[in-house]
Symmetry: C2
Subunit: 403 residues, 2 copies
Amino acid sequence: MNSFTEIPGGVTAPQSFTAGSVFAGIKATNTSKPDMAFICSTVPAVAGGTFTTNNVKAAPVRVSQANIRSAETRAIVANSGNANACTGVIGIDHAKRMTKATAKALGIKERQVLVCSTGRIGVPLPIERMEEAIAQAPKVLSASGSLKAAKAIMTSDTHTKEIAVELTLSGKKVRIGGIAKGAGMIDPNMATMLCFITTDAALSKKLLQQAISDAVEQSFNRITIDGDMSTNDTVLILANGAAGNAALRDGQKDFDRFQNALNHVCCALARVIVEDGEGVSKYVTVQVRGAKSRQDARKAAEAVANSTLTKCCWFGGDPNWGRVMDAIGYSKARVREETVDIYYDGLIAVQNGTVAATPFSKLKEVVANKRFTITVDLHIGEAEYTVFTTDLTTAYVEFNMGE
Amino acid sequence: MNSFTEIPGGVTAPQSFTAGSVFAGIKATNTSKPDMAFICSTVPAVAGGTFTTNNVKAAPVRVSQANIRSAETRAIVANSGNANACTGVIGIDHAKRMTKATAKALGIKERQVLVCSTGRIGVPLPIERMEEAIAQAPKVLSASGSLKAAKAIMTSDTHTKEIAVELTLSGKKVRIGGIAKGAGMIDPNMATMLCFITTDAALSKKLLQQAISDAVEQSFNRITIDGDMSTNDTVLILANGAAGNAALRDGQKDFDRFQNALNHVCCALARVIVEDGEGVSKYVTVQVRGAKSRQDARKAAEAVANSTLTKCCWFGGDPNWGRVMDAIGYSKARVREETVDIYYDGLIAVQNGTVAATPFSKLKEVVANKRFTITVDLHIGEAEYTVFTTDLTTAYVEFNMGE
């Protein structure tokens, strides 16, 4: 099924996409690192996306949710250093001015531009400086500009996050590229997960939305660092059909292969976001199976993944399966204590709800690893769900204690 | 309304109650600190209680939930050092043997005994040693034994938790006493909140249950340290009528005064449990008002109180109201961003969803205090809810990282 190969190039790997960055001086600190990114399709494209479900939504989220309804999308403009969240009506005006300036610079329509922001909240954008910077977009956009865009959206990330894949659909080379920044509410001033994906595949706007929703469900919705959800989280995808493949249709084998490749792009970026979380020392996969429903499996997995106590003991290398039992117990998933089995990397720790035969020292060896998997089998149904998470460290607390 | 006075004596302040402790050697570590507590009514009493809603319930919780249905209750037996949780059918048998041994020692019926355990989970109780220790109960029970019982149930608590109050009802002196141990899932091996209350007031079993449910709702259900809920959390109350007051009836002024005094006992113990949480440095009251419903107010308050990020920044003395906005946004409470006001000890930090005029330095002064209150006014309804919580510190992580 993995009929794709990874290639370099990020969001400019697909044909007829350009990207680049400029410096607008958004951050209070003295830096000359570019803080605005552009991704542009040189031909008409369709867009899809998923947005934070937080009731407190940043202004750019609201503006992008409106503009993404447009039949045609051409560009994404994004800035780091300021989230433009909790900024009231001025914030909405500023987000619109970002799309307007980008449209003007690129000679496209305002509603063809999607906008994202990440960084400090509650502070108005230095919009005039940003408008001046945006005017330079045509000069910086390049067919090899992905890395520059990836760099410009970084906040507390320690490295850029970029991937591209290539596959053949109806005899044509099709590419999917992505960049992302993390690290899920890890930044001291409210961070954000942003992910921008491009593809030169041909498919309808409706099918593209279905594909990105499915991919996000398999990837970004499965990662959790601290259970907090940002006001700005956004995933956007542009598809411009420049590959010249026969337009994908749902149910087709080719569409399944495209979906599979897109899932890979999203999963790879989601994983690297978690692994680059500040103050994180361990990466833990929590699988719940044998649940009555998928929703139950999800509740149980997320309770284990978000428990302060399970996360602290992973940091300390303590298996402490009692905390896993406790978390699934309060998760509101249907659980029959006496049928629960728990495994650490395949070693059984709990059988029928109580301690199993595996020596504690063997479980400690598992939890001493940088990566391990905790599998909970509820044995009361067929449903399963998997979450990818981290430990909770003293470094995390220090990083997030602010000022 | 506060027509009661605090008095010494804890659970043995009310008439015809005795308490005491014995050493059974339950903990693996070498200690001779008594680890079993008894509370006994020397005359017939009625019992009420609330138990963890965790689907994974310790064996003593299951046994006490059965025995509390008995019309008459005479004693509580509790141990520290072992939670008797996740111990399968053996655990249930052991919890029953604890009640049986206590009944035998005190010459009462097995179903008149309630049982609690707290400490390490997944390890069978050393039940033979405990049965031997329980046989000594008659020798250690005393009308001034409250403090000994309070000491014997401690786990990671740094001090005993005890209170008693006295009030006059229908011309009779009525007393309510309580002891508790914390500190809400703070113990490295899964801790538990246990609270035992006694009163010599006369009231029906049904009204006693109503009174304790209401008091718990105002107190223990309002505290949160890390959002985790233990497998063993239990609050028990015994009422023996020895004060000779006219039996309380619902709707009566005297009953309101009793309820008020009972609420005070529970709130005082709840507060001291939080304040004795290991690794805690700040005590934060989170009030949400102006919500559409009480349930909404509760969701919003608990989201703020349980956010890893809000708790880290309180530790660091950073007001970071953006994290409060973010938490109420994802809390699933109905929220209109543009009507939200947030106050720090009465100083307005957020007005209409965006930054207010109070200088940041003033907000920092508030968060530098050991105790402060964050008030969120959603301005879309009349409902309110208050939660009492703590910060998240590096010491908490170190304490809970285990082994």
